[in-house]
Symmetry: C2
Subunit: 342 residues, 2 copies
Amino acid sequence: MGNERIGHEIHLKERPVGIPTENSFELVSVSVPNPKEAQFLVRNVWMSVDPYMRGRMREAKSYLPSFQLNKPLEGDCVGQIIESKNNRFKVGEYVLSNFGWREYWISTDGNDVTKIDAKEAPIQRYLGVLGRTGLTAYVGLLKIGELKGGGGNKTVFVSAASGAVGSVACQIAKIKGCHVVGSTSSLEKVKWLLDEAGIDYAFNYKVGEDNISSELRRVCPNGIDIYFDNVGGRHLEAALDNMKVFGRIVLCGMISQYNVDTFPSTRTYNLFLAIRNRLKIQGFIVRDHYDILTEFCTNMSKWISEGKIKWEETVFEGLENASKAFIALFKGEKMGKTLVKI
Amino acid sequence: MGNERIGHEIHLKERPVGIPTENSFELVSVSVPNPKEAQFLVRNVWMSVDPYMRGRMREAKSYLPSFQLNKPLEGDCVGQIIESKNNRFKVGEYVLSNFGWREYWISTDGNDVTKIDAKEAPIQRYLGVLGRTGLTAYVGLLKIGELKGGGGNKTVFVSAASGAVGSVACQIAKIKGCHVVGSTSSLEKVKWLLDEAGIDYAFNYKVGEDNISSELRRVCPNGIDIYFDNVGGRHLEAALDNMKVFGRIVLCGMISQYNVDTFPSTRTYNLFLAIRNRLKIQGFIVRDHYDILTEFCTNMSKWISEGKIKWEETVFEGLENASKAFIALFKGEKMGKTLVKI
């Protein structure tokens, strides 16, 4: 046992109130066991940080169990097999799994991982456009938003439009022929949305947070067919004000609400417009839609190879910076997919 | 011209603020013209008052045009033809139309009416269970609420459960085999829902308006599959707290919101639960669903003949009491369908 391996992982030290700070997290050293029969040892290379993780930091029930205090957090990651006693999984292969926020982990039988092909695409892409992030945009827009049949003449509004999911949603809508409007939080992001993602109109909502509704009225004078909501709160109200009859609101995320602990302070006051305009407002979670994973991978790979999907990655170096990366999600400073390189 | 006929109609005198009072309405005498070629003259016998009419009293756009000031209001009515110069429409026949709030009116060509058979059912029933009211409950529950395939083991919650639409929705849900819970506003109505409509549990929400959510948790411990919303506001929030995963919320009406003029005072603070629980929240208006009118009439007539649908009618006598009848809708004192006998 002279070659004992020491790894690091990040534990949830306390349940955050409001926007999390580094006080809620702790970097812990642990001894890494050797794999037993049928097991293999993985060293993480990339991990994803995502806004939905904030929900799991609460004690309240979420669609996934709450994170436990003084245990490692979880999340999507890509790692390389470095020791294996399972002949289906070979040293050097890469796997996608949910054991993020740590350097090393043991798979007991390989049923909790998906092999990925490092020759097909850079491995971190399986955490972004080619992974759950891209699939979320795809499912939300095409299935929940009912854009499947084609989007000619449709107007699509996306909030947090330069974010990981939003930026992909914007570009799928463009591929489908829609008129696409995005809201984001800086001039630099507006520029990226117009010049790189190629959407039709983008605005910085921080310039006048009370005016999102009138801005939408100005740029979508005939109304919005599909609102892809990543934000909730005022964005949702503003979209409700401007939906077309029979429009669809896709509730993908509500980042404006995740750090609010006294819910009555938040509001959606104009939901009655959903009756007048016969709106469908539907929440979804990507895990329920893995049935279209193959269709998604085929289409997305094709679109990427045709240069139709662009994306940004914000990379934090080192597991010790994972909590910084997570906290940055709520400050709206970063663009595209936020990743940690371990 | 010795036999000039004088009729009465009710005009909107001013746009109400808050709950309407009689000051907003005016009974006006008018001279009734004689029908010309292809026209016929109708004398109204029954008219319907409905909460949605409040929306048309605003200046703001509604799904129907705003009522005009100093013009007669509109609404569903059943009348009898008393003079005709159109050979498709004979004196003595009954027609359903939208020219309520007046004693007499002229149809220019008969394309704005539907003939009804007075031998099939009492004529006022075409304004209630056999008319738009019944169809609203039917479409909302079966089509928007997706109960079409059958409702065994499903839990359905209906607000304003003893109202015109709510009481029919409750009973259709029972016919489909659901566990049905209703909220209403008096002990007498609770008794009617349990003893006459035969639902499983009914409560008077006025006993503890802040406790609708905990009451629902107590009586629907496994959650709600379909919430048929006639009320909005706190009822909607309470239902959101208690929906099952993949539940549906049918937005039929929001009577709690119709008389609110400063919308920010209303709220729905827990809409984020629609994501966690993958809810579909959908508004609808019955006029979009006349394609299933024949199916509805067949089923509803059958259910009525089998004694499976019961209803109450609250009748106000005389056109001069139509505004009283309308105002009573918002006081929640009356049960079932509110009608005016002219």
